[in-house]
C-alpha cells in the first residue's frame, strides 16, 4: 500500500468535500496539526477554485444579487481562536470521560453517525496494544505524545494508515504516553495470547451495533 498516496487521497477528498463526517473531522484535525498536509490542501483547493471560475455557466432562474443582500442580517463571525477542531467538538481532551479498555489503554467514542467509527485513544507511557490487524482500514493521527511500532515512530501531526495486510504492535512513548484520534472502517482482528478472547468479544459486540 502506498501510504503517502492514501494520506493525500484523504486531503484531496477533503478539498473536494466528498468525505463522510468521521473522516472530515479526522482530516480537518490532521490539517490543523500538520502544516505540510495543510499546504497541500491549500494548493489543491486553489486548483479547484480555478476550476470554479472557468466552469461553464448555468443561468439563474430568478435569483438576483439583491436577494443575497436583503436576506442577510449581519451574521456573527466566528471567533478565530486557535484550538484544534477536535477540542472544539468535545472540549478539552483532559476533561473527557475516558472508558478504560484495559490497564493503561482508554478510549472515548465520538459517536458520530457514520459507517466509520471515530474514537480518541489514550495510552499511558510504555503501554502497548496487543498485536492485531484490521478488517478494514484504520487511520491513526497522533494528537499528543508519540507512539512506535514495527514500522517507525509517530509524533504529533503524524498519521498512520493500516490495512488488512498489516499486523502491528503500537507502543506509547515511554516519556509522556500518547493520545490519538482513530478511524476504524471495520473491526480489528487480534492475535496472540488473548487474541481469541478479544475476537470473541468483538464478535459478540457486533450483535449490539
Amino acid at each position: 500500500m502506498n501510504g503517502t498516496l492514501v494520506k493525500n487521497q484523504l486531503i484531496f477528498d477533503f478539498a473536494a468535500g466528498s468525505l463522510g463526517p468521521a473522516k472530515s473531522v479526522f482530516t480537518s484535525t490532521y490539517l490543523y496539526l500538520n502544516s505540510k498536509a495543510s499546504s497541500l490542501n491549500n494548493t489543491f483547493e486553489s486548483m479547484l477554485g480555478d476550476d470554479l471560475i472557468s466552469n461553464h455557466d448555468v443561468a439563474l432562474d430568478k435569483t438576483t444579487y439583491k436577494d443575497c443582500i436583503s436576506k442577510i442580517k449581519k451574521t456573527k463571525i466566528k471567533s478565530d481562536e486557535e484550538s484544534s477542531p477536535i477540542s472544539k467538538l468535545v472540549g478539552p481532551i483532559t476533561d473527557l470521560k475516558w472508558k478504560q479498555k484495559y490497564k493503561g489503554f482508554s478510549e472515548f467514542n465520538l459517536k458520530i453517525k457514520d459507517d466509520d467509527e471515530l474514537k480518541l485513544i489514550k495510552m499511558d507511557p510504555g503501554v502497548s496494544v496487543p498485536l492485531h490487524s484490521h478488517g478494514g482500514k484504520e487511520y491513526i493521527l497522533v494528537l499528543d505524545g508519540s507512539f512506535c511500532d514495527e514500522y517507525g515512530k509517530y509524533s504529533v501531526g503524524d498519521i498512520q494508515i493500516n490495512d488488512q495486510k498489516i499486523k502491528h504492535t503500537p507502543i506509547a512513548c515511554k516519556d509522556d504516553g500518547c493520545v490519538c484520534l482513530s478511524i476504524t472502517e471495520k473491526d480489528v482482528i487480534f492475535y496472540g495470547r488473548y487474541g481469541s478472547f478479544l475476537n470473541l468479544f468483538t464478535f459478540i459486540k457486533s450483535f449490539f451495533k
Binding site: L48, G49, D51, N55, D61, K74, I77
Partner: protein, 177 residues
C-alpha cells in the same frame, strides 16, 4: 474576468460595501456556482437556492476575506463546497443534531501560514506539468465529484484505465509538490 480582477472586486465589497461590485461578482460567478452544484448532482432548484446562500455569505462575511491568504476564487470555492457538504448531509440525515459537527469541519485550514504567492507558484507548476487530459480528469473526479465509473462512461474508456490514470496523476502531483 481573471483572478486578480475578482480579488479586486471582493476588496471593494469588503472595504466599501460596494453593491455594484457585488452585482458584477454575482453576474460572473453565480452561474458558475450553479453549474458546480448541478454537476454535483443537485436539482436546478436546489442549486439555485444554495447559490443564493453562498452569495449571502460572501456579502455578510466579506470581513473574513483576506486576499493575502487566498484568492477570491479559492475562498468562494470553499464556501460553495461547504454548502454542498451541509446540504448532502442534511439530506442523508447523518446526525440527529447536525449543527454540532458541521460547524467545525472545514475551518481548520491554517491559511495564515502560507503565502498566496507560494500557492500560486505551486498551482502554476502543476498546471504546466499536467497534460490537459489529466487536468480534465482531476476536474471531473474532484470538482464535479464524478465516480470513476461515471468518468469511464463519459470519456468512453475502460474503468480500469480511469482508475490507473487517476492514481498516476495523483502520484505525479505528489512528486511535484
Amino acid at each position: 474576468m481573471n483572478k486578480l480582477q475578482l480579488n479586486q472586486l471582493m476588496i471593494k465589497i469588503r472595504e466599501d460595501r460596494d453593491e455594484m461590485a457585488f452585482s458584477s461578482l454575482f453576474d460572473f460567478l453565480a452561474p458558475k456556482i450553479k453549474g458546480y452544484y448541478i454537476q454535483n448532482g443537485l436539482s436546478s432548484e436546489n442549486a439555485e437556492e444554495l447559490t443564493q446562500e453562498v452569495f449571502s455569505i460572501i456579502w455578510a462575511k466579506s470581513d473574513s476575506y483576506n486576499p493575502s491568504k487566498s484568492a477570491l476564487s479559492t475562498w468562494a470555492y470553499t464556501i460553495a463546497r461547504n454548502k454542498k457538504v451541509d446540504f448532502l448531509r442534511k439530506n442523508k440525515g447523518f446526525y440527529g443534531n447536525e449543527e454540532d459537527i458541521r460547524e467545525f469541519l472545514y475551518e481548520a485550514n491554517r491559511e495564515d501560514i502560507f503565502n498566496q504567492n507560494e500557492i500560486n507558484e505551486q498551482v502554476k507548476k502543476l498546471n504546466m506539468e499536467l497534460e490537459p487530459s489529466q487536468r480534465k480528469m482531476i476536474k471531473m473526479n474532484f470538482f464535479e465529484n464524478k465516480s470513476h465509473k461515471k468518468i469511464a462512461e463519459e470519456l468512453e474508456i475502460p474503468l480500469g484505465t480511469v482508475k490507473s490514470r487517476i492514481r498516476h496523476i495523483l502520484i505525479k502531483m505528489q512528486r511535484l509538490l
